[in-house]
């Protein structure tokens, strides 16, 4: 029941650049695949092409091995949940869920039974005669989900399923969706701009930017081995340090980082450093000791703590580097407390355990 897109391209009328360009992806059967990217990256366009709501200028879509490129949406057998939910305002909840079955002219009793079954599945028992306007955001979302599931789709498509909800409901629904998927194992293709959602919910992630696929793979793969600077910066919110290549090493900010051999001397280099990969420690002794450490290990630099912000169990530390660049570090509250650090303190910043992705390019 996999969904495969091959070479999908689409340019909207009067648009300066294509919405998507030569996009390939594979959403394997029974898993949750996420298209992750910032707004305008073309991910929703891909989803709408899979649903048949947009027609690609080039490329093919196949669902369960069948080429559906020329099949209209009403015959694709996909269930889609829209960002706005798109509930039919003039129908009550039960009629909304029954819609797909009633246009298929299924017998009334069968529809009724199926609607009740779905109401139970999405935990909305007894709310069948409510109107969409009487429901909360989370309830509407679940009605939209039930409506999409009612037609027993081959594939479930979710467009920013949690976009319009507040934080608490988002997390609740995320868990709900995960449990639902564990029960149904329905092949799911989801679109989101939220990396937490993508990494937590999905088995496969396709990162998109400016209409192209940047990287596709398992969530931990994407996170640990970003293939492009964009992925490194977008997934994980890395610090960006700029510099250039000197003696086969990247001199970025106040750090010097190892490079694989063959880097072009003098080329510009950009390093991406994850906030929680950075270790900081108090300066042991003002002056000489610190200098000797930084001399021994060029991946260590001195910095000043500009701000300390406690967010729950984590602390966000904003550092001012000698090169005047800022860097954000995240660490558990307990660790900061153990080091008894506070704003204005000078610290040593250690990138030795950090994953630093260096991209070098000639100017």
């Amino acid at each position: 029941m996999s969904v495969i897109g091959r070479g999908l391209s689409k340019r909207f009328a009067k648009a300066a650049r294509p919405a998507i360009h030569s996009v390939d992806f594979n959403a394997p059967s029974g898993s949750i695949t996420t298209l992750l990217g910032p707004s305008g990256s073309g991910k929703t366009t891909v989803l709408r092409i899979v649903a048949g709501l947009e027609i690609a200028d080039a490329g093919n879509v196949s669902i369960v091995g069948e080429d559906v490129t020329a099949v209209p949406p009403e015959r694709r057998g996909v269930g889609m949940v829209f960002q706005s939910y798109a509930l039919f305002k003039h129908m009550n909840v039960a009629d909304n869920i029954a819609f797909g079955l009633s246009v298929r002219k299924e017998p009334k009793d069968a529809i009724k039974a199926r609607v009740n079954e779905l109401l139970e599945l999405v935990q909305l028992d007894g709310l069948g005669d409510r109107w969409p306007s009487q429901l909360s955001g989370g309830q509407r979302q679940r009605v939209a989900l039930a409506r999409a599931l009612a037609i027993r789709p081959r594939v479930l498509l979710l467009d920013e399923p949690f976009g319009a909800l507040d934080a608490r409901v988002r997390i609740e629904l995320r868990d709900f969706l995960r449990r639902l998927h564990d029960e149904t194992h329905l092949t799911t293709l989801m679109v989101t701009h939220d990396q937490d959602e993508a990494l937590e919910l999905s088995h496969h992630v396709v990162v998109m930017n400016e209409g192209r696929v940047e990287q596709a793979g398992a969530p931990h793969d994407i996170y640990d081995h970003p293939a492009t600077p964009f992925v490194a910066a977008f997934v994980g919110g890395a610090n960006v340090l700029r510099g250039h290549v000197t003696d086969g090493r990247a001199e970025v900010g106040s750090f010097s980082v190892d490079l694989p051999t063959g880097a072009t001397e003098g080329a510009a280099a950009t390093a991406f450093v994850r906030p929680h990969d950075v270790k900081i420690a108090p300066v042991p002794d003002e002056g000489t000791a610190a200098r000797s450490v930084t001399n021994d290990a060029p991946e260590v630099a001195l910095a000043k703590i500009e701000r300390l912000v406690r967010v729950g169990g984590m602390v966000k530390v904003t550092l001012k580097l000698p090169s005047d660049e800022s860097m954000t570090v995240e660490m558990p509250k307990s660790e900061i407390d153990a080091l008894s650090l506070s704003e204005g303190d000078r610290v040593m910043v250690d990138l030795r355990q950090a994953k630093v992705f260096v991209e070098d390019y000639a100017i």
């Binding site: 027609i55 080039a58 093919n60 080429d67 490129t69 020329a70 209209p72």
Partner: protein, 282 residues
């Protein structure tokens, strides 16, 4: 490789055929509806106006009667547009910002000219101000001629165009937070300064749309004017009434020539107001 080439060749045509036949049918229906009802009549008008060449058309327009009628229509229309812009904006502001007894009645009265047939409007004004009514008597005794004179034309035009400025300005005004005006007032701005600096910048497109539509509408008004203006050639005969006279006396060419002037001005202004000034949701 061969397979993918084959699909690349086949799919575009299949893609087009999805639902596009239905779409094209609906486009043709739409173009036919608007073409037959709107474009074709206007083409006939243009062709007739210029059937004796450009000079023939100009000759019909510069005849003393036609020139006087066009001039009368233009200046009364302009005057009414200006009056409507001022009083209409004020009316919209009062209706949006104040709650007072009878507000709903005033609001309903503003919309009434939309409903009243224009001929009936003319008749109403005769019954209000005509020579046989008490008010008309009194006005006559004081030497004020309204009915069968130019003031009647202006009054009728003000009546039929009343909703235009009010109803375009009102929704825009409702979107402006009164707090903006209030905060300007606390900063020491005078009411005039507030209007000029706070309200006008936000309102002017709506006021312009309403004013241009008022002018365009005034140029074409016939029903109310024809029975109250007296229709004296070169004195109180407006352009639409002049066109009517030309049709009745069997001069379709002259009628068409003067019509083209009216249509060109009012259509240009109206379309400009609707599609350039007013931000359209489409």
């Amino acid at each position: 490789m061969t397979r993918s080439n084959a699909t690349a060749l086949v799919t575009p045509s299949r893609r087009r055929s999805l639902s596009s036949r239905g779409r094209i049918f609906l486009r043709v229906v739409t173009a036919g509806y608007l073409g037959v009802l709107i474009a074709l009549p206007l083409l006939a008008l243009l062709a007739t106006a210029f059937e004796k060449g450009v000079s023939g058309a100009i000759l019909a327009i510069v005849s003393p009667e036609a020139r006087a009628a066009l001039w009368l229509t233009l200046w009364t229309g302009g005057l009414v547009a200006i009056l409507s812009a001022i009083l209409g904006t004020l009316t919209a502001w009062v209706l949006v910002r104040y709650r007072f007894p009878g507000r709903a009645v005033i609001s309903a009265l503003v919309d009434l000219p939309l409903a009243v047939p224009t001929l009936v409007t003319g008749l109403m004004l005769i019954l209000l101000l005509g020579p046989t009514t008490p008010l008309g008597d009194w006005l006559n005794a004081h030497g004020l001629r309204i009915i069968f004179a130019k003031p009647a034309i202006i009054l009728a035009l003000l009546f039929v165009t009343l909703p235009l400025v009010v109803r375009t300005v009102e929704p825009v005004l409702r979107e402006i937070d009164p707090a903006e005006e209030e905060s300007a007032a606390t900063l020491g701005a005078s009411p005039l300064t507030i209007f000029r600096r706070v309200l006008f910048p936000a309102l002017w497109p709506a006021i312009a749309v309403g004013t241009l539509q008022t002018f365009a509408r005034a140029l074409g008004e016939f029903g109310s004017v024809v029975i109250i203006s007296g229709n004296l050639p070169r004195r109180t005969m407006t352009a639409p009434v002049h066109i009517f006279g030309a049709i009745e006396s069997g001069e379709p060419h002259a009628a068409a020539a003067v019509s083209v002037v009216l249509v060109a001005v009012s259509v240009a202004l109206f379309v400009f107001a609707e599609h350039r000034l007013r931000a359209r949701p489409t």
